[in-house]
């Protein structure tokens, strides 16, 4: 464990005045000395963390969320927008409950930078927000091969307008038009997601639109299907998805809708399609790099007991921007957020961190308008390597193949996950 979990002298005096040597932070603390925890980004990880900070810490802390958007569109289930089973409105969430039920301050702005010396966030309007602890949950950023227009070649990997752009492009296809999508090099957000999308689109074109001459071609930079291999292979075969591994995109031509890519050792291959859905390789969000939190990698190294940066004090990173063996996804982002919220509350009240955290990942993947599969894993803390690892690598990841039963159960899962995160 790093020394990040120790209070410095200034903090020690401050929290001593709060009675922090006891196991609680008292309600009677003056507002001016109540610890202020700021959560940056309010997707699955950030929203959960802010909620649970107040649920467990209550009036002993002040919590502020800084998030540029007043409405969040869930990436989870968003592939169902493409085949008319859901709309983005149905997958949209506001922060009313965070404000009204949990007394969280919402600031709808972006964070430009972090002044770690004065412990202040610098916002898009140049205003500053002081923090005692800041929790960054900013999601992902993309690594583009070249400068092209996302409205012409959408990624649809951040849900919302991008999802609807891709939806409109798919609906503009006529029989005989091709759909080509690409899968980024792992790690990326939602490991089963691209395979799921290929299944959804192929089923939609073939079985709902009735197309017999259109192709769905899937170019994967990875050497094989990285999760639920047997299930996705079966669905690819059933729906006619043309899956090609070891295909790395090198250039995107958004005018002619042409991809250039390497396939194995063969360079300079090209493919043109009516609809291109390139999901670029991914890295931590810009604020992580701007604050110097990556240590030279693409994601932020952290103490997995607290999610505190191993590089800078009092900055915690949860969700897709952090570096660990856990997948980058909403359900486990929710799980990480609770470990982080608990750890921050323990640190602020001078209690030792919990040494044996567990997180869980569960994810249903719709593979048609009537069937879904699921994938599950439980992770434990590995103190030797400061990582979260599979509890039992001979058992996990566990999966269940596509079925109509799983499709119905998927909505029960998502409703409770959404409620635990946003309600």
């Amino acid at each position: 464990m790093s020394n990040k979990n120790r209070l410095d002298r200034r903090d020690f005096i401050k929290y001593l005045s709060l009675g922090a040597l006891f196991s609680t932070i008292p309600l009677s603390s003056k507002v001016s000395t109540t610890p202020h925890v700021v959560v940056v980004g309010a997707g699955f990880a950030g929203s959960t963390c802010a909620k649970y900070l107040k649920l467990w810490g209550g009036n002993s802390i002040n919590v502020t969320i800084i998030e540029p958007n007043s409405v969040y569109v869930s990436p989870i289930l968003s592939n169902l927008v493409l085949n008319n089973q859901r709309t983005t409105n149905q997958l949209s969430f506001t922060y009313d409950k965070h404000i009204n039920s949990y007394q969280i301050n919402m600031v709808y702005k972006s964070v430009l930078n972090i002044d770690t010396v004065n412990k202040e966030l610098i916002l898009s309007d140049n205003s500053r927000v002081k923090y005692d602890k800041v929790i960054l949950a900013p999601g992902i950023d993309f690594i583009k091969t070249n400068n092209y227009d996302f409205t012409k070649v959408p990624h649809a990997w951040i849900a919302g307008e991008q999802t609807n752009i891709l939806k409109r492009q798919i609906d503009s296809m006529v029989d005989g038009d091709d759909f080509v999508m690409t899968i980024p090099k792992s790690p990326y957000r939602c490991p089963p997601g691209p395979y799921e999308r290929a299944c959804i689109v192929a089923d939609y074109l073939k079985n709902i639109k009735g197309f017999t001459n259109s192709r769905v071609i899937l170019l994967d930079e990875n050497s094989d299907i990285i999760v639920e291999k047997q299930n996705f292979q079966n669905v690819f075969n059933a729906h006619g998805v043309d899956y090609r591994p070891n295909c790395k995109v090198t250039h995107v031509d958004d005018t002619n809708k042409t991809l250039t890519y390497t396939e194995g050792s063969i360079t300079g291959k090209t493919i043109t399609a009516k609809v291109l859905n390139v999901i670029p390789n991914q890295k931590a969000a810009k604020i992580i790099f701007d604050t110097g939190l990556t240590g030279g990698g693409n994601f932020a190294p952290i103490n997995l007991l607290s999610y505190e940066s191993t590089i800078k004090n009092d900055i915690h990173i949860i969700g897709d921007s952090h570096h660990s063996s856990q997948p980058k996804a909403g359900h486990i982002g929710n799980s990480e957020a609770k470990i982080c919220a608990d750890a921050v509350l323990r640190i602020l009240s001078n209690n030792p961190l919990y040494q044996n955290p567990k997180t869980n990942s569960a994810c249903y993947s719709p593979t048609s308008s009537t069937e879904a599969s699921w994938l599950n894993a439980v992770y434990k803390y590995d103190a030797v390597n400061n990582n979260m690892v599979l509890v039992d690598s001979s058992y996990y990841p566990k999966s269940s193949p596509s079925s109509t039963y799983n499709y119905k159960e998927m909505f029960k899962w998502s409703e409770n996950l959404f409620a635990d995160t946003f309600s």
Binding site: S23, T24, I25, P26, L27, Y52, K54, L55, W56, G57, G58, N59, S60, I61, K97, N100, S101, Y102, Q103, H331, N334, S335, K338, I339, D342, L345, R346, L348, S349, N351, Y354, P357, K358, T359, N360, A362, W374, N376, A377, V378, Y379, K380, V391, D392, Y395, Y396, K398, S400, E409, K412, W413, E415, N416, L417, A419, D420, S423
Partner: protein, 127 residues
């Protein structure tokens, strides 16, 4: 069983509702999650609770503090979780259960037993 009765309860209206732990006279505010007014009681202070932290792993599927918003079982206030944990016939629950030790399950069960059941959540306590 955590899921056993789900198929009989599909007709339940989805009600987003809360019953949060009151840790002793905290500030109570109104929330209006889905048209029904619910009270959320915030605690006055933070208390270390390892069992609660482990049990928070249940919430994604069984609702915050064990109160499900749909026909998946609520587990707040249940007294028999530890006995049934590893034997659930639901495949996903069975998969998740594999990841927790008996000691952890006992801790989670002891915490769940203390949680208030929300009137609007699916009550499977006769299971």
């Amino acid at each position: 069983m955590l899921y056993r009765k789900s198929k009989y309860l599909l007709g339940l209206t989805l009600i987003s509702s809360f019953a949060l732990i009151g840790c002793g006279g905290g500030t109570t505010v109104d929330s209006n999650p889905s048209g029904t007014t619910q009270n959320v009681t915030l605690p006055t202070s933070f208390s270390v609770n390892d069992s609660r932290l482990l049990g928070a792993n249940c919430a994604q599927c069984h609702g915050t503090n064990g109160n499900s918003v749909n026909s998946w079982d609520s587990i707040a206030g249940k007294s028999d979780i530890a006995e049934e944990f590893y034997e659930d016939e639901n495949a996903l629950m069975s998969a998740v259960a594999h990841g927790f030790t008996q000691n952890e399950v006992n801790k989670i069960a002891s915490w769940l037993k203390t949680l208030p059941k929300n009137n609007n959540s699916n009550d499977d306590n006769d299971d």
